[in-house]
Amino acid sequence: MGGTWLSPARLARMVALTLLGLVAIFIESAPVGLEPDAYPSPDLLFCLVAYWSVRRPGTAALPVVWGLGLARDLLTDLPVGAGALGLLLVSRFLRSLGAGLARRGFVTEWMLVATLLALFLAGQWLVVALLLSYPPYLLDLAYQWVATMALYPLIALVLRWLFRISWRRIEPA
């Protein structure tokens, strides 16, 4: 890999994504509502990675995304490996759409991310069910889906403000 590929600016953005990802995991896993019928926390990491993959496709690097997914799986007891791989596939897919999606406007992006999250959750449920473990209640997953999608615009706003990302145009990575 040439020197242009790992420029300091690029590296800084990857580090920023890692740190934000860790904060997202910590917030998610904060012990708020331990009782089993508490609403599941929204999937902040998914929002972050999805938004980043669309707006900053160059720096949503494979090891970073997978590593974050894995850390989250381990710390919050998701099916280890399945969550990380799901997150990575979602990120790859959004990256491949990249600029085209960002130009279409936010609502389209939101809908697409919502669909991907549904697939992501369904995939994990399926992995757990197929391996004859105890799959979670679908209603809980539905709550999580709604909560996460309700939060997505907010996270998009915060990230946009933090990194000065414009609505339509993606900046070169």
């Binding site: 040439g2 917030i27 896993s29 708020v32 850390a71 399945a82 979670p136 809980d140």
Partner: protein, 304 residues
Amino acid sequence: MRRPASPQESQLARTVHRILFGLVVLSSGVLVVLWRSDNPRLEYLRVTLADAVLPSMEWTNKPMEFIDGLSRDYRNFLDVYNQNRELRREIQSLRGWRETARQLEEENAQLRALNNVRLAPGTTFVTGDIIADSGGPFLQSALVNVGALDGVVDGAAAVDGNGLVGRVVGVGEHAARLLLVTDFSSRVPVLIEPSGRRAILAGDGTDIPRIEFIENVDDVQAGNPIRTSGDGGVYPPDLPVGRLIALPGGTWRVALAADFDRLEFVRLLRYIPDTAIDQPGGLILTRPRTGDEPTDPASAVPGG
């Protein structure tokens, strides 16, 4: 990657990327298999990671706990009047009980002195703060900020002020992972009082876990207190668990005594099981002694 690179360079980058992707997919598959088979290596990885990120986790927890506390305080504030009335009533009935307890305690002490009773071996404990929960719907677990260095052992039972919460399934140096009794995979041997019937408390992701395999259903009633039985030697006996609930259709569930809504601190019990005579050989042969085994008088009896 956006700027035009030489064709060879981009070709190389693409190949490297493809190999990396393949590796990642492969290792994800391996991890899923390890996860499903409850591999101890994964548990080790988990607690090592928890150990590493614990300090920063505590740091992000503070504001979250503050916000949660605010909303809880507000809810408390709303029903403070009713609570006050209820508390007054409770105090009155408790005063009566206090007298009864005092009398019973005296009587108990006298009887114990008469009998020269040997009490169950000492249970020591270490108290920890819950610093993370699984958050998602997949597993009911929590991370506590005490670990092996504080004397936590794998399998230790966790209780709050009122009753059983769960048990330790992974121990790091400064962190321990709890599996709550409400989790799908939690099974606790229990005893239903006053009949003394044994049963299994089986978590199913709801806040009222199921009771399975009741020895004799005719002997139990809704409202019966439930304690751990100590069978299997994982949980100490006589920890309060909750009360029995009967549901239509002949299913039994438990209203847990532990307050999961306000769970903040848990006590991890270090329990040394009493001498158990569970097989004939144990009576005749003395077991080979290992260094860390607790000395208890019963096993010091010379073997045949």
